[in-house]
């Protein structure tokens, strides 16, 4: 899962100025860290749905994504 997130999905998200990192996968609960543009995206939930869908299609796994958004200090107002 870690390599799938970081090698397959992350480059796509980086292409839009975003950033995703694998944190953990426990009991189908996938924790992902979002940085860059993703950290302040107001419609990130749509992207989470896409990630879940891709994981289902490519890895055959059902996951619930727990996003952690790490917003840089200059956007943290």
């Amino acid at each position: 899962m870690k390599s799938y997130i970081e090698d397959v999905l992350a480059p796509r998200i980086q292409g839009d100025g975003g950033w995703v990192e694998f944190v953990s996968l426990e009991d189908q609960r996938l924790t992902l860290l979002f940085r860059g543009e993703c950290s302040k995206c107001q419609i990130l939930s749509r992207c989470l749905d896409w990630i879940s869908q891709k994981i289902r299609e490519d890895l055959g796994q059902e996951v619930t994504i727990l996003p952690v958004c790490k917003k840089p200090f200059f956007w943290d107002r």
């Binding site: 796509r12 100025g17 543009e37 749509r46 896409w50 200059f74």
Partner: protein, 991 residues
């Protein structure tokens, strides 16, 4: 006493007008018929015009569906029939999107859609009732959000499809909406007369009283009212004279990769062409030869349309350069090539030489530019940022004359406001108010049009222009072209002020340092390309082959990566990966090209004798430098000559090392007595030859400092003046110790740590050379840190000399004025020098550009670690080198320019035949050979020579040569050429 803030809760009359204006906008569309059979196929762009389709194939696309994927391109298609009731009317495709779409209708490019425009006029593309639609849509992750706040909420990788419709509009409502956009903007803008604004609100409200917002009756009456009572009013007056020039700025890479700019550009051009169809008075300016080249290659149909519009004068190529490069970091020859390849493209494609440089967004401009502009047939220079982005001083001119380092002058325009505006009266009035040359500069320039894939001018902007003359308080406006504006207002204008110096931008000072690897590779490849062209030119002089196309392609790839959001480091991570891949490819291709020329002998590509140490890579060598094994060779190889190299002769027993207190080291060489700190800093540097000390006691010399670096939103761009407020401590993991020595050189190594980063500093001393080389091997893992090395020199001087790549600039070290204070971080090239009468100290680098000037303390900026736009910026391994060189005399007397070239231009394995008379002519002139290449027409070998030291020079050839401009146009003949201080001359040797 309690303070009670009175808040008005009831609706103000102005709000009632604004509310009804919103209702009016909803009435624009009269009828809409949804297109039902759309399909979508997801893809990802893999090249300039290639895509990989993603799994899932083609699927239906319905209103309410989520569409677009991260970094995705969506291909949408479908068909519809024009409803019977629409026939004979103007029919539109209506589609609201946060993406950028290029639309073909019935097989022809019909227009573009994006957050700034949601409809395309279909009538010219209709063939009967059938409408076939093909859309290429790219999800723009970085809309013009700061300028279009409404788009912020929908910014993201996945979007909700709002449906596509065939639609008709109520022309009268649309027209009245345009009236209200214009007049409401004035009413809300404090730049305009307060009484007029009050008058406007009153009349605008009365006009809307006439409209029934259910039946849309009364719209014509309202329009008549506006015409009669607002446009017809002449009691109020404005002032000003503003030239409006349509333009769309396009970053070739930024929050997108350069491959995406091919389509961004095509969409922009398409949209402008379609506007020209409907608004014959519309004129538009477009920069960067590269964008035209891409359009010609991938969108020939659009390019042919563009070519016609160029002929009619509606579409105007501006900006003579290949791309809009950074204008601080690229060396002189790179800037010349930007013009050479740009202008040759414009000549071939359109039969015209562009006479202006159009660089609205670049981060300051080097003092070497005016001469290069002049000699590239460019008389005018346009660049916005100094006026709108300076953080300390207001740049004092807008229309002026810019004098360069050699005394060349060009007409310059630094427009008073941003280069992206949407042509609102408030923006035009603001431009006029900010314009500082009202009495002597003629008109002020206001560029209008969205940028960066926002696709330029909109119908709304052009409708504004049609209405401006009717508004009495507006400045006079003239719709014009870029060149026409410059010619009309600047040419022969004897009242213009003169700015003699660099155009320093008081912002974005971090871009000299951010993404160190890009800067290092750019420097390396600039010189490698120079060497390759030199070797092949010498071969051409002997009748041999010259791989002109291959070398030009490599140059263009390098020039593309000098774009002002690539080389400066202000971009997302994939852009960095693309650039590094390009650099790797360029380097490999140079190696491959040079392989047949490889010989056992070594060639000195510089036009003067080698005087400093020469590092020769060799697997069995006893020294490791830049990650390669090798050995130090004897200097002395003459300029442009080949020969064998021998290991440098050493001096037995030349080095004495004593342990000092606290793990410091006291070292004596034939040149110095040095006291090293345990961290690799130099506590004392006693010059035995000059009998003097070089280190200012207690100031720190070659001392590494890590500063907290929190510049804010412009993270990759800026270093703030307060960066020295917080120093991050470093610890010495391994104190400086002698790690290698022989009769030739010695290495001392210290290992430091900072956070989770490891910093290894290697200092090299030489038995027979005065330079002290410092190599930093860094595993860099910090965030928001700025690494600098300080040089607190015991040199009484109030100025620093900085290399510009084609001459040096003197910069003040005093901090008396705000202009001096603002220049606390500046750009230099290969060296800086601090000198007193009789002696000085130079620091020569191999790929660093940022220099900090804090009074007498000078620092070389080594690394940053920003997180926006790229959170990985500068993370990883770095190998950085510089040479500390105390010298007798000043920088010119000490030959620092030459030594800096030697430090950056290695010997190459080759044995070219160099005509002896030519070698003597070049090498005895004292000039630097910037470039030797085959001319673009293949008829002669070009010599580009520059005077680097600020004195007059002369070069005499055995037979007459062609005197040329930098575009390689012959301008005369001469056998002896006089060269002025800092002049660059281009000469041709006929083949």
């Amino acid at each position: 006493m309690a303070h009670v803030k009175v808040v008005r809760r009831s609706m103000r009359p102005e709000e009632w007008t604004e509310l009804r204006f919103g209702w009016l906008q909803r009435g624009i569309y009269e009828e809409m018929e949804e297109i039902q059979d759309l399909t979508i196929r997801d893809a990802r762009q893999t090249g300039e015009n290639s895509y990989e389709y993603l799994d899932g194939g083609e699927r239906p696309l319905k209103k309410g569906d989520v569409y677009f994927t991260p970094d995705g391109t969506a291909f949408i298609r479908g068909s519809a029939r024009v409803p019977e009731r629409f026939r004979g009317r103007d029919v539109y495709l209506k589609l609201s999107t946060a993406g950028e779409m290029m639309v073909r209708v019935n097989g022809r490019y019909a227009g573009g859609l994006d957050p700034n425009r949601d409809r395309i006029y279909l009538n010219p593309f209709l063939q009967g009732e059938e409408v076939r639609i093909e859309i290429e849509g790219y999800n723009r992750s970085k809309p013009d959000d700061e300028r279009n706040p409404a788009s912020l909420g929908i910014r993201g990788c996945r979007q909700i499809f709002e449906g596509a419709f065939l639609a008709t509009i109520r022309e009268n409502v649309q027209s009245l909406v345009y009236d209200y956009i214009l007049l409401m903007d004035i009413a809300q803008c404090e730049y305009f007369n307060e009484d007029y604004r009050h008058f406007l609100y009153e009349k605008l409200s009365h006009a809307l009283d006439l409209v029934d917002f259910d039946t849309w009756e009364g719209v014509d009456a309202a329009a008549d009212y506006v015409e009669k009572f607002i446009y017809g009013n002449t009691d109020f007056h404005g002032s000003g004279d503003v030239a409006l020039v349509g333009h769309s700025h396009l970053d070739l890479a930024y929050y997108w990769r350069r491959i995406h700019s091919v389509q961004k550009n095509a969409r922009t051009v398409l949209i402008q062409l379609r506007l020209m169809d409907r608004y014959p008075e519309f004129r538009y300016t477009h920069t960067q030869a590269h964008t035209y080249e891409m359009l010609e290659k991938y969108y020939p149909e659009l390019f042919e349309e563009l070519r016609v519009k160029v002929k009619t004068g509606q579409f105007e190529p501006v900006g003579a350069m290949y791309v809009e490069p950074d204008c601080n970091i690229p060396a002189a020859e790179s800037l010349i090539r930007q013009f050479l390849y740009g202008q040759h493209y414009f000549r071939r494609a359109f039969g015209k030489t562009v006479d202006n440089a159009w660089l609205p967004d670049v981060f300051g401009n080097s003092w070497i530019m005016p001469q290069i502009l002049r000699k590239c047939c460019v008389d005018y220079f346009v660049s916005n940022k100094m006026s709108t982005w300076n953080d300390t001083n207001r740049f004092p001119h807008n229309n002026f004359i810019w004098k360069g380092i050699d005394g060349s002058t060009v007409y310059a325009c630094v427009p008073p406001t941003h280069f992206i505006t949407w042509n609102m009266p408030s923006q035009i009035q603001e431009n006029w108010e900010a314009y500082q040359d009202k009495e002597k500069g003629g008109q002020t320039l206001s560029m209008y049009g969205y940028g960066d894939g926002g696709s330029g001018v909109t119908e709304e902007m052009l409708e504004m222009i049609r209405r401006f003359p009717k508004v009495s308080v507006m400045p006079r406006v003239e719709v014009t072209g870029g060149a026409d504006f410059l010619h009309k207002n600047l040419l022969h204008n004897e009242n213009l002020s003169v700015w003699d110096g660099e155009l320093y931008l008081e912002m974005h000072r971090g871009t000299f340092t951010t993404k160190s690897n890009l800067k290092k590779m750019n420097r390396l490849l600039e010189f490698r390309l120079r060497t390759a062209e030199l070797l092949f030119s010498l071969q051409a002089l002997q009748g041999g082959a010259y791989p002109g196309d291959a070398l030009r392609d490599l140059w263009k790839k390098l020039l593309l990566n000098q774009f002002h959001d690539i080389l400066p480091g202000s971009h997302i991570h994939p852009v960095y990966e693309d650039a590094m891949q390009d650099y790797s490819d360029i380097s490999a291709q140079i190696t491959e090209l040079l392989e047949p020329l490889k010989r056992d002998d070594w060639f000195n590509p510089l036009p003067f004798d080698r005087k400093s140490m020469v590092f020769i890579p060799e697997e069995g060598g006893n020294v490791t430098r830049d990650g390669s094994r090798g050995f130090w060779a004897e200097p002395g190889l003459p300029g442009l000559a080949s020969g064998s190299v021998a290991p440098m002769k050493g001096i037995p027993g030349w080095l004495k090392v004593l342990n000092g207190e606290d793990h410091t080291l006291k070292v004596e060489t034939p040149a110095y007595r040095i006291h090293f700190g345990r961290d690799g800093s130099i506590l004392s540097l006693w010059d035995k030859t000059l009998e003097r000390e070089w280190v200012l006691k207690g100031a720190g010399f070659n001392r590494l400092h890590i500063w907290a670096d929190h510049p804010g939103t412009y993270d990759a761009w800026d270093i703030l003046p307060n960066y020295r407020d917080v120093e991050i401590s470093t610890s010495v993991t391994s104190p400086l110790s002698l790690t290698f020595s022989d009769d030739v050189s010695a290495e001392f190594t210290a290992v430091l740590s900072c956070g989770s980063s490891t910093w290894t500093m290697v200092l090299r001393l030489f038995a027979r050379f005065r330079g002290i080389e410092v190599e930093h091997l860094v595993d860099w893992r910090e965030k928001h840190r700025l690494a600098k090395v300080n040089f607190g020199a015991d040199v009484l001087t109030r100025e620093i000399l900085c290399d510009t790549s084609a001459g040096y600039i003197r910069r003040s070290l005093t901090r008396n004025t705000t202009w001096e204070q603002a220049r606390f971080e500046v750009c230099h090239h290969k060296w800086f020098d601090l000198s007193e009468t009789g002696a000085g100290l130079a620091v020569i680098n191999s790929g660093k550009y940022g220099v900090g000037l804090e009074g007498t303390e000078v620092s070389l900026s080594l690394l940053r670690s920003t997180i926006r736009p790229d959170i990985t910026s500068d993370m990883g391994d770095h190998d950085l080198r510089y040479l500390i060189l105390p010298h007798a005399g000043n920088a010119v007397e000490a030959g620092i320019n030459r030594l800096a070239f030697e430090y950056n231009v290695p010997l190459v394995q080759a044995r070219p035949a160099v005509p002896e008379e030519l070698r003597n002519a070049i090498c005895s002139s004292g000039l630097y050979l910037q470039s030797m290449k085959l001319s673009e027409d293949g008829k002669c070998v070009i010599l580009r020579l520059s005077e680097q030291d600020g004195r007059r020079a002369r070069i005499t050839f055995p037979t007459p040569v062609l005197c040329m401009n930098m575009l390689e146009d012959p301008e005369g003949e001469a056998q002896t050429v006089q060269v002025r201080p800092f002049e660059i001359v281009t000469l041709g040797i006929p083949l």
